[in-house]
């Protein structure tokens, strides 16, 4: 538990992805089974204990140092689990601290009545970092900025395997993943992949622009609309039906309506959408479904989910990935024609004569829910990863707005001495008729290194206020912000939120007063 706690502690302060990977790899190499397997389960979201409620933690705290001191402490720290971890002291005569495996196995057996006493013993034995990690684990609040995908990448790295290989066997395994580690770190055999029901690493597209497209032969390519939803994989085998995100996370729980509609066996690639009255609803509607762990009947009714399929990887026990796109497409269409398949349809091919024709179609298509076009080579097999050449995404030109920089924050890692994260705002009128800036988004990329140095200096020279790592700046600098969409938002004070905003240009030529208004942005909401 102590080693795992040190890992979590280091991860929680380390913002850079590569550094996180290195930390996890070092831990997985140095830690014996089954602890590292349980750690992997914890990092991939596969350990779910709700063994300790806030009320229990608070009562422990009161018991330990009295209500007044505990209150002062909690007030200062601001986090209940951390407060308890800090005020509790390691007992000098306590036994050795528990291993992670011991913690997990004990909790799996312990009754609710036994848990508090066990927990107290562990708190006596662990150090402050160990107590913090334990309490975070038990309250289900383990957030250290590591995605399941990143943890799997780290496991793959210690065995020098591509992450796709790990993804392929992942869902046939369970914690503490002994066969996986045997395979990756000893001479064990590769675990069997539960074919057909397993997550298969998806094929990804490279971005392309008009100039580059002209170098390609249009006869080789098929075009589909690029839907503004969530890429998913529908996998079904032997009664096990799952919906995976692009990163291999099992999202079945949030979409029972889709899972229920699966009455076939195979693995399909498609776009998850909310579809209302035959039309694709805005991305925001889908987001509302994604944000819930459990779905209410009302949600199911008002935000019905739908999968628009564009590829088939396995069908009735047969791996189709080596076939060409055209052959797979024929199989997919034939399968769809077999019978009605509620909640599923096929993304139609966009017919075009040449690139100029396709460019026109792309320009004219301003329909909701379409982000641009996908171009796929007709003769290409389905390849995991992001191979160069067979698949391209040709996004619709972004929307632009002129906003004013309001705050700047220091970045992380290499950028930690630069003010590289910018909050920008648009104008609006207050109830008293005064004009003020309301924040509409935050962006931390889109600029060159040289522009970053310029922006950093500008921030330092125009600071009006400091709050920790954040600086408030004079409301003077206009930033042209590019984004992919606008939605109404209750989280933002301005009432709008921009999708995927980035800094497109620095507009030193434009006076701040002439920047865009919140109203203009609201008009862009579909």
């Amino acid at each position: 538990m102590q080693a795992f706690a040190r890992l979590l502690d280091a991860l929680s302060f380390q913002p850079a992805r590569n550094a996180k990977l290195r930390l996890i790899e070092a831990y997985l190499r140095e830690t014996p089974d089954p602890d590292r397997g349980w750690a992997l389960a914890a990092l991939t979201g596969g350990l779910d204990f709700a063994a300790a409620k806030p009320a229990l933690l608070r009562s422990f705290g009161h018991e330990k140092i009295g209500e007044e001191l505990f209150h002062l402490s909690y007030d200062y720290v601001g986090d209940l689990a951390e407060t308890l971890a800090l005020i509790w002291e390691t007992k000098p005569d306590a036994g050795p601290p528990p291993s992670l495996g011991e913690v997990v196995e004990t909790l799996q057996r312990a009754t609710k009545m036994q848990t508090p006493a066990i927990l107290k013993r562990w708190l006596d034995e662990l150090d402050a970092t160990g107590r913090w990690a334990l309490l975070k684990l038990l309250t289900g609040a383990l957030r250290v900025g590591v995605s399941a995908r990143l943890a799997k990448q780290a496991v793959a790295n210690i065995g020098s395997q591509p992450v796709a290989e790990v993804e392929e066997v992942w869902h046939g395994l369970s914690a503490p993943y002994r066969p996986l580690f045997d395979w990756l770190t000893a001479d064990g055999p590769k675990p069997a992949s539960n074919m057909g029901g397993a997550f298969l690493s998806p094929m990804l597209a490279n971005p392309i622009d008009r100039a580059e497209i002209d170098t390609l032969d249009p006869a080789h390519f098929r075009a589909e609309w690029k839907w503004d939803g969530i890429r998913v994989q529908v996998a079904s085998l032997g009664g096990v039906k799952r919906l995976f995100s692009r990163a291999g996370e099992d999202v079945s729980g949030a979409f029972p309506d889709i899972v229920e509609a699966i009455d076939f066996e195979g693995v399909f690639d498609g776009e998850l959408l909310v579809r209302r009255d035959e039309a694709v609803a805005p991305f925001n509607d889908l987001q509302q479904r994604l944000n819930r762990k459990t779905v209410t009947p009302k949600m199911l009714k008002e935000h019905p989910a739908h999968v628009r399929l564009y590829d088939v990887l396995w069908l009735d026990g047969e791996d189709l990935r080596a076939l060409s796109f055209d052959e797979r497409r024929t199989r997919l269409e034939a399968w769809m024609a077999e019978k009605p398949r509620p909640r599923f349809d096929i993304s139609p091919l966009v017919r075009f004569a040449d690139w100029a024709h396709l460019a026109t179609l792309r320009e004219e298509m301003r329909q909701d829910g379409i982000e641009g076009l996908m171009l796929k080579r007709g003769d290409a097999p389905y390849l995991a990863g992001r191979p160069k050449g067979p698949w391209f995404k040709w996004k619709r030109d972004p929307m632009l707005a002129d906003c004013v920089m309001m705050y700047a924050q220091r970045g992380h890692g290499k950028r930690s001495s630069f003010y590289s994260d910018y909050t920008f705002g648009a104008w609006r009128e207050t109830a008293e008729g005064k004009r003020e800036l309301a924040p509409v988004g935050k962006a931390y990329f889109g600029f060159t290194d040289e522009e970053l140095r310029w922006l950093d200096k500008w921030v330092r020279d125009h600071t009006t206020n400091r709050f920790g790592p954040v600086r408030e700046v004079e409301q003077q600098l206009v930033l042209e912000v590019a984004f992919d969409g606008v939605a109404r938002s209750t989280r933002h004070k301005s009432g709008v939120s921009l999708r995927f905003p980035r800094i497109n240009r620095i507009r030193t030529d434009k006076p701040a007063a002439e920047a865009d208004t919140v109203d203009t942005l609201l008009h862009l909401v579909p």
């Binding site: 280091a10 302060f13 550094a19 986090d79 407060t83 005020i87 402050a128």
Partner: protein
């Protein structure tokens, strides 16, 4: 606030000010003050060694080690059989750069309270230095920038690294140079150190560089490729504080007493009356009262929040 006769416990900026007519302090503290305040030509300096006594009117004054930094002392004042001890800043754990705190039984104890909350239990120094050395192993190509206060923390961290067997060169920001030299002149050996500005053809990959905390966020740090920002301070024990300071590798190394050291000290000096100042008075006053000590918060001027902890 400049006064006629000042008794100075130690050289930190919130305790030692220039401009007094005369200043009584340990010889080490006076040396530190001369380094910081351009030799203080207008101040009469009265060195008083640990354990020696002087009389000022009908008050006798002596200085006793406080274990905080080089030269740090508690002021022990006696008047008609009454003894008052002013702790200054102190800690109870060993520190290779200064003699350890000595508890002096007294009638009134005026204690500091920088870390006077039960959440502050500073872990072992060796364990924290171990974190730094482990990070060097995991990231052998990255420069490890360690933010330290120039007086005390800097030299203590170097000594802790040496005690852990780290004998490579330790690089210093220019602002740390003069005080390191002064420590060495006072018998605190720091091993192989060098100034960043003296480096030629050095990439600092996998090296330890000490600098003032503010330098990490400063343009100065851009000369290092992909640095890791470590920060050595007692505040690093609380995650939100560590994050606020931008630490990627927080090292909980403090020159102040933590909660258990503070409460233990109240018991050790056995004073029936305790005045709490310089920090979070409320919790320690509450604790003192709960064990039957007449505790009271004493608000003194001139304190700068968290400058050298």
């Amino acid at each position: 606030m400049a006064v006629n006769r000042a008794v100075i416990t130690h050289g930190h900026g919130d305790h030692a000010r220039p401009g007094h007519r005369s200043a009584l302090a340990t010889p080490e503290t006076l040396a530190i003050m001369r380094t910081r305040f351009q030799d203080m030509p207008d101040t009469t300096q009265q060195p008083l060694k640990y354990g020696d006594t002087v009389t000022m009117g009908d008050v006798s004054v002596s200085l006793v080690p406080a274990g905080h930094i080089l030269g740090s002392a508690q002021a022990v004042l006696e008047h008609k059989g009454q003894r008052i001890v002013v702790s200054g800043d102190y800690k109870r754990r060993p520190d290779a750069t200064c003699p350890p705190f000595e508890p002096v039984p007294c009638d009134v104890f005026i204690t500091e309270a920088t870390f006077a909350l039960p959440v502050f239990h500073h872990p072992s120094d060796a364990g924290e230095i171990g974190k730094l050395l482990r990070s060097l192993e995991t990231f052998p190509e990255r420069t490890h920038l360690v933010g330290v206060y120039a007086l005390g923390k800097c030299q203590r961290v170097i000594k802790l690294l040496r005690a852990a067997g780290y004998d490579k060169r330790i690089w210093l920001h220019g602002a740390l140079a003069s005080l390191c030299k002064l420590y060495e002149a006072n018998g605190v050996e720091l091993g192989d150190t060098a100034l960043i500005s003296d480096a030629i053809l050095e990439t600092f990959k996998g090296q330890i560089v000490l600098c003032p905390p503010s330098a990490i966020a400063d343009r100065w740090s851009r000369r290092f490729a992909d640095p890791i920002a470590a920060m050595a301070s007692g505040w690093m024990g609380v995650r939100a504080r560590a994050r606020q300071r931008g630490a990627e590798l927080p090292l909980i190394i403090s020159d102040h007493a933590d909660w258990s050291e503070l409460t233990q000290t109240l018991k050790d000096v056995g004073a029936p009356k305790v005045w709490v100042t310089h920090g979070r008075e409320e919790a320690l006053v509450a604790y003192a009262r709960s064990i039957g000590i007449d505790g009271e918060a004493l608000h003194l001027g001139g304190r700068e929040e968290e400058d050298e902890s």
